[in-house]
Symmetry: C2
Subunit: 337 residues, 2 copies
């Protein structure tokens, strides 16, 4: 099969990569479309030392299942990316995503979605409703990461919410929270991205225009910059909550990735402010697929507006290049004939 | 009256300091005993630029009240230290402790307890039950800061809890949590302080002996060192909670203060770990007095074991010196005839 392979130096498109063989209770999935995420770009730069096929945002068709349960065979699915060992306390509690020996599709120890086929356990898969197009379905994974904010923190109707960062993830979080009627302002640095949010009725501000008085009960930090948390601390109200979405793969500022792996990159934080103002900081990563799929099916979140370009998979090099341009939002790869 | 006055250079015992005049709805309180806190030591080194009478842990007698309500006149009381402006949104919500224009007894813009008299609003005062001695009552304020951990975070019976730091605050938190039957281990660097905890049936470890696998669902950071949070991140389980009690008044390691003011002291933190492991960090400061007073009245927390020395107020200089010795826990000042 055709696959993009990263050998530690640079990604190569290989025509004769071995089709993966599903293990017990896994499915073989034929990829229909995949999305390029900031993590993929970082992986192509050596992030996490990953070797293999990158890519973790996808929609595909279940080609074959190695299990007595065949209910998903032939179905169109999206898949959660973390695969636990199945034998530890986290897996026993259904927290595979925090299993210490987990693999992650296209990120850690498991070939990913920039290939004609991939494998995932059946329990990671969710059937895509008919009302959701392939293009939209690819957004399930990042949209789930946006919903995760509301899974972790109780945001009240009376709260003022600031979302820092107008990248894909910041925009998706703004779409989700604004659609729930929450009092949201999105802050960023890109005129075109802020304009996109504004055209969806979302209040926007340029970074730096945010007021530290009276401040915000809830601040979502999705800038991708280590400085983002300090900005959040400056504008959050005492007893407020900061939801931390940014991981940092490199020293230069980049867009946060909603499912990035672990890197040891320390940022200097004013801890005394956290204590004195009794601020809560909540780390937040991948999220639940069902509400994301439901929102897509009901057209409650306009993810199509985030698509900057669609490239055939054969032109993945151009897709990666385009993905790194400043005003680009989501770039999709099309595997369909 | 006699008062310890800090002029920005060093504290002086002044014999003829002006007795404070209570404002509307405030009480004039004759101090019986006061406790020396790490914050007082920091203030004497110039922390926060405070000028005036330090001291914020006390028990006293209500001498006179400027209010139609006279129910507290003549009573023995302890007092919450933060005084809000009374006119802002935080005060309107009963969050005077987070009022942006607040004063704080002996810490910020308000003369404190190292004097024969002090003033506080009536609503800050709590009558001390007869079963609580003066010595014990002085611990109400730091004990309330220990209880604040349980006000902010739901610690479950099945959680493994690590408390980092065997100073006064770490010990009080360990006493409170262990007494509730929680599965607590106290980690520190001082043999005598760990032995004190062990003699109360609390599991102890030397710092560095804590296991990062399987780790702890809840970690209370009370080391007073900026590195403490990174240790906490290393040993907390994914999805776990870190309660941050330490503020940092100086670069060298010191004991945390439960009610310290604001200083801009940044510590380098691995934010990616917070995100990937979805850790919650909760800043925690002063706490509620009623559960602390109840615990003291019921002798559920043995605060007397934390008293290293009692000095007459006239010998406050010796008290400050003693307070800074390595093995010292709480030093009290006695104002009684």
């Amino acid at each position: 099969m055709k696959a993009l392979f990263f050998d530690g130096l640079m990604p190569h498109l290989i025509e004769t990569y071995r089709v993966p063989e599903p293990e017990e209770n896994e499915a073989l999935i034929r990829v229909l479309m995949a999305g390029v995420c900031a993590t993929d770009i970082e992986i192509a730069k050596g992030y996490k030392g990953f070797r293999g096929v990158p890519g973790h945002e996808f929609v595909g068709l279940v080609e074959r299942v190695r299990s007595p349960y065949q209910g998903l065979t032939g179905k169109r699915v999206v898949g959660e990316i973390n695969v636990g060992c199945g034998a530890c306390e986290f897996c026993a509690k259904g927290m595979e995503k925090h299993c210490l020996s987990r693999t992650a599709l296209g990120i850690s120890e498991r070939d990913g979605a920039f290939a004609e086929f991939l494998t995932l356990p059946l329990k990671n898969l969710w059937e895509v409703p008919e009302a959701v197009s392939d293009e939209e379905a690819v957004f399930t994974e990042p949209l789930a990461a946006a919903f995760q904010v509301l899974e972790q923190v109780h945001v009240k109707p009376s709260d003022r919410v600031a979302i820092l960062g107008d990248g894909k993830l910041g925009l998706l979080i703004a779409f989700v929270m604004a659609r729930q009627g929450l009092n949201v302002v999105l802050a960023g640095k890109h005129a075109s991205k802020l304009a996109l949010a504004a055209s969806r009725g979302i209040k926007t501000k340029y970074s730096g225009e945010l007021q530290n008085r009276p401040g915000y009960e809830v601040v979502v930090e999705a800038t991708g910059s280590p400085e983002g948390l300090n900005v959040a601390v400056d504008i959050v109200k005492p007893r407020g909550a900061i939801i931390l979405k940014s991981t940092f793969a490199s020293r230069k500022n980049g867009e946060p990735s909603e499912c990035a792996g672990e890197v040891d990159r320390r940022a200097p934080i004013d801890l005394s402010r956290l204590v004195v103002d009794e601020i809560t900081v909540v780390g937040s990563r991948c999220g639940p697929f069902p509400p994301a799929l439901e929102a897509l099916a009901a057209k409650r979140v306009d993810v199509k507006s985030l698509i900057s370009a669609v490239y055939p998979f054969g032109d993945v090099a151009s897709a990666f290049e385009r993905s790194q341009e400043k005003e680009t939002l989501k770039v999709l790869l099309d595997f369909r004939p």
